[in-house]
Amino acid sequence: MYHESVKKNDSWYFHLFLKKKEGENLVIQIFVHIFASKNSNYISTMKTVSKRRITLCLLLSLIVTTGLEAQNRSFVLSDDSTHNIGGSTVVIDQKRMNRGLMTNSLQALTGQAAGLNVQTSGANRMAMLNSVRLRGTTSLTGGNEPLVIIDGVYSNLSALSGIYPADIESFTILKNAAETAPYGSQGASGVIVVTTKKGQGAQFHISYDGNIGFEAAYKQLDMLDANEYVATARQLHKPYVDGGNDTDFQRALRRTGFAQNHHIAFSGGSDKQHYRASLAYMGENTVITNNSYRNFAAKLDVSQQAFDDILTIDLGVVGSSQRNNDIFDEQKLFYSAATQNPTYPNGPNASGGWDCNINATQINNPLALIVEEDKDKVLNFNSHIKLNYRIGKDWNVTAFGSYSFVSSENSQFKPTWIWAHGQADRSETKSEAWLGNIAVNWTHDWGVHHLAAKQMAEYQSHTTTAFNATVRGLSHNTVTNNNLAAGSMRQYGATGSSYMNDALLSFLTQVDYRLMDKYTVTVNARVDGSSMFADDHKWGLFPSLSATWDLRKESFFDDFDWLSQLKLRAGMGISGNLGGITAYNTLALLYPTGLVPWYGTATVTYTPKTNPNPDLHWERRGSYNIGADMGFFRNLVVLTVEYYHSNTRDMLYLYDVPVPPYTFDKMLANLGRMSNKGFEMGIGYSPIHKRDMELNINLNMSYQKNKLISLSGNYNGTYFSAPDMSSIASLNGAGFHGGNNNIVYQIVGQPLGVFYLPHCLGLVTQDDGTTCYEIEDLDGNGRINIEDGGDRYIAGQATPKWTLGSNISFRYYDFDISIQMNGAFGHKIYNGTSLSYMNMRGFPDYNVLTDAPKYNINDQTATDYWLERGDYLNFDYITVGYTFPRKLLSRHISALRLSLSINNPATITGYSGLTPMINSFAVNSTMGIDDKRSYPPYCSYSLGFSIQF
C-alpha cells in the first residue's frame, strides 16, 4: 500500500500496520489512519489499498509464513543485560543487539543506548556511516564519529560494517571523558568497543545461522498521473507533450528487494588453545533497481597458552570484501522520478533512446539515470597479535600489535544519453595503519585496598594513498568503466594521485584504587603527540578522574530491602580532538594548480591553495558527568540516570579570515567554543521473570542541548571575528541556485543547525488567480527583504532535542517476541520536497503533487510555510521466534531456532513528507532538509534460521 499526505500545520496521522494471523497461511494487513487537526487548514490525501498491493502483501505473507524467517542473532541469552541500560558504560550484548533483518552491523546498535544515534534511513550505508553520533556533535570540523575499536584494533565505522553481526560478542559504548580517556584523542567523540567471538572451551562447535527476506516499499509521493497531468496542462493552457503512456516513474524504479545472510562458524580446541573460524555472506538487493550490497567476510581467532600459562598469545585475522552498488545521485534520481512527465513510456522509446522533456533542465529520464553506476569495492584486512606475559603475582606485561589495510575502489559510469554525455571514473584509495603498544600492569591487594596501575606507550602510523582517473566522451556505453580507453577526453585534473601520512605517539598512566569494594577512584593521564601539528604544539595532556560510590553496600541501607542497587558515579576530564583535520595543514605547501600556456606549451604551475596555519593546536573538550544506577525490588526495575556537560574550546574550524590581507577566505584555526549538555536515562522493567514466561521492557531516553558559543578569538595577536551567521544547508533543483535559498544555519548563540527563515503568513491569491506565500515584514522596514539579517527569524532546530529507544521482549515457553522502537522529538524538518512539488511554476515541465493544481501556488520562495515538526516514533522491527526445546533435538544438535521478522512495520509521525528519518544529526549540506532525495520507505519481511551442533 502506499500512502501520501501533503499536509500543513498540525495535522497528525497515525499509520498503523498490523498483521493478523488467520488460519494457517493467511495474513491480512490493516491500515488505520487517524487525522486530528487543530485547524482545518491541512491538505491531506489518502489512498486506499489497491488490489494489486493486497495481492502482493498476501503473497509475501504466504511465503513468509510457509517457510522463511528473520533473526540474525544467535540465541544465547545473557542474564544481566538489563543491568547496563542507559548508563555511561553501556554494554550491548547479543541479547540486546537488534534483531530483525540486519544488513549491516551498525543496525544492531540502533536505539540501544541513550545518547547514541545511528541513522538508518534509506538504504545508503555510507550515509549511515557518516551519521553515527554519540552525544551529538561536539566539533565543527569533524571527528564527530565515535572511535570503533575491534578487538583492540583502532578502527572505524566502515570496518565495523564489514563484520557479520553474529560474529560480535558485544558492543561497549563509552561516552564519558574518564571512560574514553584511555583511548586518547581519537576517542574524544566516544568509543564503541567491539568484542568479537573467540573460541571457548575444548568442545568442538559448529553453527549456522542465516536469514532470507523480502523488502517492499510502502509509500511514495502522490504525483499527478498521466490523465491528471494532461488535464491540468490543458486547463492552464500550457504547452505540454502527451506521450500517450501512463507511467508511474517512482514505481518504475522499484522492485521487490531481496536480502539474504548466511553465517557459518566453527570453534574448538583444548584447554591450552582455542580457535574460532567463521565465514559469512550478506547480500541485499534493495527496493531500488541496481542498488545492492554484498559482503563476504572471513574471520579467524587463535589463542594459545605457553610456558606454564605465563604467556598467552591471541592472534586474530579478519578479512572482508564488500561490494556496494550505490545510487550515483539520489537527489537527481528521485527528483527525476517524481517530476518526469508521466505520459512518457516506461522504458526506451521506439528508437531506443530515452524520452525526456528537454525543457526540464534539472532532471533526466529516471530510467536512464538508474543505469548510472557508482560502485564501491572495499577490501578490508585486519590482523592483530596480543602477548600477555605474566611476571609473578602482581605484574604482567602486554604487547599488542596490529596492522590493517583497506583498499577501496570506486568505479562510476554515466552513460552517453544523460547529463554527462558518457563519462567513466575509476578511483582507488588504499590505507594502511600500524599500531603497536606495550603496557605494564601492576595490581595489588592488601586488606580492604585494591590498587591497579598501568603504564602504556603506543605508536600509530597511518598512510593513505589514492589514485583516480576520469574520461569523458565514451564511444561505447557497453564497456561502462571497464576500459577507460573508450573515452576520447582526459582533461587536466582528470587523473591524479595523492599520498598522506600521519602518526600519533601516546603515553598513558592509569591508576585505579578501590576501597572496601565500595569506593572506586580512577585517574588517567594520557599524553598524545600528533604529527599533524607544528613542533611547538604537537603534544597535548589529557587527564581525567572518575569515582563511584556503591551506596547499597553501606550499612545504613541494610534495611532497605526494596533497594537492590544504588551506585553513584561522577567523572571529569579533558579530551583532545583532531579527527576533522588532515596532515600537512601547518606546512606552507605548493600544489599543482592548472595548465597555462607558457612559452608555447601548456604547463602545470605550482601554487599554495590554503592559508597555512603554523599555530594549529589541539581542540580540547572539558567535560563532567554525574550519574546513578539504581535497582529496585531485586532488580525488577532498574534505572540509570546521567547528566553530562561538555565544553569544546580552541575549536578547529575553517574560520573566515579577512581578504585582504589573507589570500584565501578560510583558514583552519583554533578559536571557537561550543557546549553540549544532556541528560540520559535508561529504565529496565522485568515484570515477569519466570521459568516459562519472561517479559522485559527496556527504554532509554536522552535529552541533548547544543550551543555554539563563539566563533571568534585571537589568532597571532589579531582578533578574528567570524560571521555570527553562516549557512549550512540550502535547497537544490530548478530555480534554487544561489540567492536566498539557505535554510539551515549555524548561528552563534544557537544550537548547531537552526532553521533561519522568512515567516509566511499564509497563501494569498494574486491577480492572475495563482497563489503565493505572503511574507511578514519581520524587521518592520516596510518592504520584504528576505536576505540574511532581513525578514528572517530562527524557527527551530534541526537536531532532535529528545531521542528514544525502546525494546519490549516477551517469552512464553519457547516462543519469544521482540519489538524495537526508536523515536526523535523536538526538532523540525524543512519539507523542500513539497515546496518544490507544490510549485506550479515549473509545470508541466516538472510534474507536481496531486494537490498542487488546487492550491495553484506559483511561488517557490523558501519560507517557514514548509517547516514542519519532525517528531516521530518508528517501529524498527518486530520479531517472533521459536527456540526448539532440547528434548525435540537429536543428540548432535545443541540448539535450533526459527524466527520471523518485519522491519520498519510502521512510523508514527506528524510529518507530511515521505519519511521524517532524514539527516537530522550530521552537520552537512543535507542537514534538516527533506529535499527531493528521500529514499522510498520500505518494510522487510524475513525468516531466520539458526542451528548449532
Partner: protein, 551 residues
C-alpha cells in the same frame, strides 16, 4: 624463567616511546614545500609569474574575469540594459538573485558579491606573494636585472589590472602591495588614490613589458604584454572623471579636461591621454578585422583585432565559458548536442537599438536592422546546421526578441522570450555542454580602442567621426554622427555581451536611470548604486573597513 625487573620495564617503555618522537615529523610527498620550490630561475618565472594566468578565467562561480557565472562579468552586464535573466517558470528565480541585479537591489549581504570581492583580492594577494618571493630570491638565485624587471613588471601589471576591476566595482578599496601586511594596517584608500596608483603602476611597468601580441599562439599567448597595459591605461583615462571622484553621491564630477596625467614627459588631460594610448596600440599593429565574426571564431587566435583574451582549449585549459550555455533554449542546445539552461537574453531596449521594433520578422524593415544583430544573437527562427529545431512540445523553436519581462512565468513566451547570446562561432566540438569551447574569450579588442578614441576626442571638443566610421563601415553600416549619445549606442551594438556595459553607462551617467522596463528598480537619486556595497563579511572581519555611501 627470565626475571625482568618491573622498573626496568617502565623505564624501557618510556624510552622506547621517546625514541619514536622523531616519527612525528611530517614529510609530504605529493606536494612541494614552499622553502624548496624556487630552486631555479625557470621555476621562479613559471610558478610566480606564469601561475597567475590560472586566475584570469576560471571554472567555478565568481572565479574569473569572464566566462564564469555570478562574478565580475555578471555584476557588470546582467545589471544593465544590455542583458537580463528573466524568471522562466521553475527556472531562474534563484532566490531573487537575477531580479536583484536587474533592479539594482543588491545589498551588502549578497554572497555572490562577497565571492567576487574574495576572488579579486585572492589574485591581488597572489601577485603580492609573487613579488615578495621574487624579491627574496633575487640575489640568492642571481636574477639578472633584466629578468627581475621583466618578472616584476608582468606581475605588477596583472595586479594593476585586478585593482582596476576591484576599484571599478567597489570604489574605495584597500591598497595592499606588501604580502605581509597585518590586518590592522588594512584600510581603504579613496577611489582617486587607487586610480592614480593603478595608472602609475601601469605606466611604470609598460616599458619592461614585451611589445608582443597576447592573443596569438606563441610565447606570450594569454599574457600581460605592453598592448594590454596600454589598453588599460586608455580605459582608465577614459573613466578618469568617474575614478577621480571620491564623493560620487554629490552629483558633481571633476572635468576630464582638467584632470592631468604625465605621459611621455608631457602633461596631457584625460582625453588626450586616451588618444595617446590608443595611438600607441595602433602603432603596435592592431587593426580591425575585415569580418566582425573573425574575432569570435573558434580559432580566433589569428585575429589582428583582439588584444587580450582568456585562452580556451577543449582539451587543455580548465577555463569555462558559461554564457552561451546558460542562454540557449534547452531544445536549441539539445540540437547542438549540449544541455543548455535557457536563461539570459537581450533586453527590449537593446533590441530596439539594433533596429528590432517588431517581433514578427516579416514586419521589419531589413534596412533598419544593424548587421551585427545576426552575429550577436540567436533570434527569431532557430537554425542548427540549417535545420529548424523542435522546441520540445512539437513546435518549431522561435525566439521572440521583444517578448521579454522580468518574470515570464505563465506567459506564452516563458521559454522562448528574448534573443539569445550568439557572438562566438558555435563550436560543435565543445564539451561540457559547450562550456569548454575552443574560441578564446575576448576581454580587450581594438574596436573598443577606436570607440574610446572617438569618445575622448568628442569629449575634448574635437571630432571622433573618423574612428566611429571605421567601426561602422567594417560592419557595412551607414555612417552616423559621432555624438556622445550615438557613441554610447555604438558601444552597445559593437561590444554586446563583452562585459563593458555597466562601465559605459556609469561614465555616461545613465546607470541609475529607469532604462528598459525596470519599473521595480531601486530609486537612486544620488548615484550611490554606481559603486557596489562593501559586503557584510568583509566589514565584520576588518573593523577598519567603512561602508560605501548609501548602503
Amino acid at each position: 624463567m627470565i626475571v625482568v625487573r618491573p622498573y626496568i620495564l617502565i623505564l624501557g617503555t618510556a624510552m622506547a616511546g621517546m625514541a619514536l618522537t622523531s616519527c612525528l615529523d611530517e614529510y609530504p610527498k605529493g606536494e612541494v614545500e614552499e622553502a624548496e620550490a624556487y630552486t631555479s630561475v625557470a621555476y621562479i618565472e613559471r610558478d610566480l609569474v606564469g601561475d597567475l594566468y590560472n586566475y584570469i578565467g576560471g571554472d567555478s562561480p565568481s572565479h574569473g574575469l569572464q566566462g564564469t557565472i555570478r562574478g565580475v562579468y555578471d555584476w557588470n552586464s546582467v545589471t544593465t540594459d544590455e542583458q537580463m535573466m528573466p524568471v522562466r517558470g521553475a527556472d531562474w528565480d534563484d532566490g531573487g538573485f537575477w531580479n536583484r541585479l536587474y533592479n539594482h537591489r543588491w545589498t551588502s549581504s549578497d554572497g555572490e558579491l562577497s565571492s567576487t570581492w574574495k576572488y579579486l583580492y585572492e589574485v591581488i594577494s597572489r601577485c603580492n606573494r609573487s613579488l615578495y618571493f621574487i624579491d627574496r630570491y633575487r640575489y640568492r638565485l642571481v636574477l639578472t636585472n633584466e629578468q627581475y624587471e621583466a618578472f616584476t613588471a608582468e606581475v605588477r601589471g596583472l595586479r594593476a589590472m585586478f585593482y582596476f576591476y576591484t576599484m571599478d566595482m567597489f570604489g574605495n578599496i584597500p591598497l595592499v602591495t606588501d604580502y605581509n601586511t597585518p590586518v590592522s594596517d588594512i584600510r581603504q584608500s579613496p577611489r582617486s588614490e587607487v586610480f592614480r596608483f593603478i595608472f602609475n603602476e601601469l605606466q611604470e611597468v609598460a616599458p619592461y613589458l614585451k611589445g608582443e601580441r597576447s592573443n596569438e599562439l606563441g610565447n606570450y599567448y594569454g599574457r600581460f604584454t605592453r598592448p594590454v597595459a596600454y589598453f588599460l591605461l586608455a580605459k582608465l583615462a577614459l573613466n578618469a572623471e568617474v575614478y577621480s571622484d571620491n564623493d560620487w553621491t554629490d552629483g558633481i564630477r571633476p572635468d576630464g579636461k582638467s584632470i592631468y596625467f604625465s605621459v611621455d614627459e608631457k602633461q596631457l588631460n584625460a582625453w588626450e591621454t586616451v588618444v595617446y594610448y590608443c595611438q600607441e596600440i595602433y602603432d603596435l599593429g592592431y587593426r580591425l578585422e575585415e569580418y566582425y565574426g573573425t574575432n569570435f571564431a573558434i580559432h580566433n587566435e589569428v585575429s589582428k583585432e583582439n588584444i587580450f583574451v582568456i585562452p580556451m582549449d577543449n582539451n587543455l585549459y580548465s577555463n569555462r565559458f558559461n554564457y552561451i550555455f546558460r542562454s540557449l533554449h534547452a531544445a536549441h542546445g539539445g540540437a547542438i548536442g549540449w544541455g543548455t539552461e535557457n536563461g539570459t537574453c537581450a533586453t527590449v531596449s537593446t533590441m530596439n537599438a539594433y533596429g528590432i521594433t517588431e517581433d514578427n520578422p516579416s514586419k521589419r524593415d531589413p534596412g533598419e536592422i544593424d548587421s551585427r544583430y545576426y552575429i550577436n544573437f540567436h533570434s527569431d527562427t532557430v537554425l542548427v546546421k540549417g535545420q529548424k529545431v523542435n522546441d520540445g512540445y512539437g513546435n518549431v523553436l522561435v525566439y521572440h526578441p521583444l517578448e521579454v519581462a522580468e518574470n515570464l512565468t505563465g506567459s506564452p513566451f516563458e521559454r522562448n522570450g528574448g534573443a539569445r547570446m550568439a557572438k562566438y562561432e558555435t563550436d560543435f566540438t565543445a564539451s561540457e555542454d559547450g562550456t569548454l569551447q575552443n574560441n578564446d574569450i575576448v576581454l580587450f579588442r581594438y574596436a573598443d580602442v577606436l570607440l574610446m578614441q572617438a569618445e575622448a576626442k568628442v569629449r575634448n571638443g574635437g571630432s571622433g567621426q573618423e574612428e566611429m566610421d571605421f567601426v561602422r563601415s567594417r560592419v557595412h553600416e551607414k555612417i552616423r554622427e559621432a555624438t556622445l549619445d550615438n557613441l554610447l549606442t555604438e558601444r552597445l551594438l559593437e561590444l554586446m555581451w563583452e562585459g563593458w556595459r555597466r562601465n559605459d553607462l556609469i561614465r555616461f551617467g545613465k546607470f541609475t536611470e529607469l532604462y528598459d522596463h525596470r519599473v521595480n528598480a531601486v530609486v537612486d537619486n544620488t548615484g550611490y548604486t554606481t559603486v557596489f556595497p562593501i559586503t557584510g563579511d568583509v566589514l565584520s572581519l576588518n573593523p577598519n573597513m567603512v561602508q560605501n555611501p548609501g548602503y
